[in-house]
Amino acid sequence: MDFSVLMQAIVSGILVGGVYALIGIGLTIIFGVMRVINFGHGDIMMVGMYMTYFLFTLFGVDPFVSVLITMPLMFLFGAILQKVFINRILGSLPQNQILLTIGLGLIMSNTAMLAFTSDYKILTTSYSSSSFNIFGISISEPLLISFLITAAITIGLYWFLLKTDTGQAIRATAQDREAAQLMGINVKWMSILSFGIGSAMAGTAGALISPTYYIFPQVGSAFTLKAFVITVLGGMGSIVGATLGGIIIGLVESVAAVTISSDWKDVVVFSIFLLVLLIKPSGLMGKSRM
């Protein structure tokens, strides 16, 4: 195979992987703090995509600028979901938690369908299909911008979790909920914060890919699955792992598409997922929690 084709695939894989990482980080924070696997994660992302779409078509806000609006709004959305629904089932069976988030996801996607029909919407900006060349490899401009924004957000999040008191309280809750509670940390509040942050990450990822992806009510489920693969690969609850996992999955998808065929790339991704589950269910970064 042509070497430049492979290089091209690797570069786009990494760029897309950055956005995947953001989705994965959102899921992994929620899991880390609450031990709840959020099956509605992709649907939350879908809400972010529609938000971006309407900010663009109705008010002409550039999708990348709209992150500034989408992120806080999605934070609020997630915090409300946590306060109203998830907080009530934290102690119950894991399967009930899974079903609740599935239910919330179905409500989101079907409400979107009711409101916006199931038509595919495309957000076309002036730069949607523009790209530039470096060493013969073409780099998509929107993908590059979104990768840079992702990197900035991820660094910001690391800083928040490592350096601020609230961030440390969140990490303490993730490490040991009961101990954190005994130390006077308001665990319910930390849960609300984490679901808010997780949703903000998912929503932002939605905003960032909307210039390059179709927007439709069911778009979420594919991303929910991807988010699972990413977080399990990196180790449930590990942010470093999710970052790494996102980039690996982006790479695998894009390389599999050129080396095998784009029809089979999902099969490759899910097979890797199963392998990781079987060989090292704790993931690449299994031991370190956040």
Binding site: I37, F85, R88, I89, S92, L93, P94, Q95, N96, I98, L99, L100, I102, G103, L104, G105, L106, I107, M108, S109, N110, T111, M113, L114, T117, S118, S221, L225, F228, V229, V232, D263, W264, D266, V267, F270, S271, F273, L274, L277, L278, P281
Partner: protein, 359 residues
Amino acid sequence: MKPTNPLHSQRGASTVRVSAGIAVIAALFAFPQFVESPYILHMMILFFLSTLMGQSWNIIGGYTGQYSVGHAAYFGTGAYTTLILLTTKEIAPWYGMWVGIAASVVLALIIGSICFRLRGPYFVLASIAVAEIVRCTALNLTNLTKGAEGILVVDIPAFKIGETIITDFSSKVPYYYIALVLALVIIGVTWLVQHSKLGYYFQAIREDQDAAHSLGINLTIWKNSALVISAAFTSLAGSFYAIFVKFIDPSTVLPLDLSVQIVLISIIGGIGTIFGPVIGALVLVPLSEALRSNVITEGLIKIGLVSEESGVGIFLKEHLAHAHVLIYGILVVVVILFMPEGVLGYFRKMTTKKKGGEA
């Protein structure tokens, strides 16, 4: 603390129950003699089919506690095997469905050998991943499955025993009877499971795998047995769906949404009980059909709440039908938050509470 005895009913109550059961079954068999509306028969068929799907899942999910969210894989395998054999080899569905069951059982054993090493949420995720691999494979093996285009059959060959034609499938009635029998069979199988060693072992595994293991229960064998029974009947449901609807594609018989709906039938009714999935189907089928067929919108218009010409009326008429899955979402949230034991468990609790109050 209250003595409960969920596994065996008392003798006195059971004769009443058995006679009531026989009366209901007789009424269901007589039903098509009195009701000719194809629409109502269609609804009944869907109700039986949902019961079959929910009950099949109940055996692995409800009794054994292994929350498979990948049952679409078996449903799709049954549907595809039946229709592929029919369209390419002209093998009639009542032979094809057995091949489908065999294929699903093999698939179940493969999936079991992978997924049963994992527990809790990891098991759920693995079951989804395997089902997605099956879906992607069906989508891409276009030679065999025609991919996204799907498989359409025009005629279902007449069902013959020897030379006698039992039915030629020209109306909904034969489907009605087949679906009814399938639903009764799965209810019977569940009853048998519950009243045998299988039921005790399945439930022990659900309650505590390590404790079960220490009591001489070989987890691999028993979990796989539960999955095989469950997969075989889910496959049968798929085969039936394929000849009933006469069209299948990966997005109708293999998607994650279908796996989720199968789980919900059981959860909404109440898992680990014989009648839970029946109740679940009884709640879900009419509700989602009412949405799908616009009965609700028309009802709102009729009682004058919404005017037909108004924006809201037009909007609901156009879109509510597409969002029938919304009801699944709302129901599951309500059930998990307010009646985690399902509709059946909720009412059981309410009635025992009342009785307790009186005593």
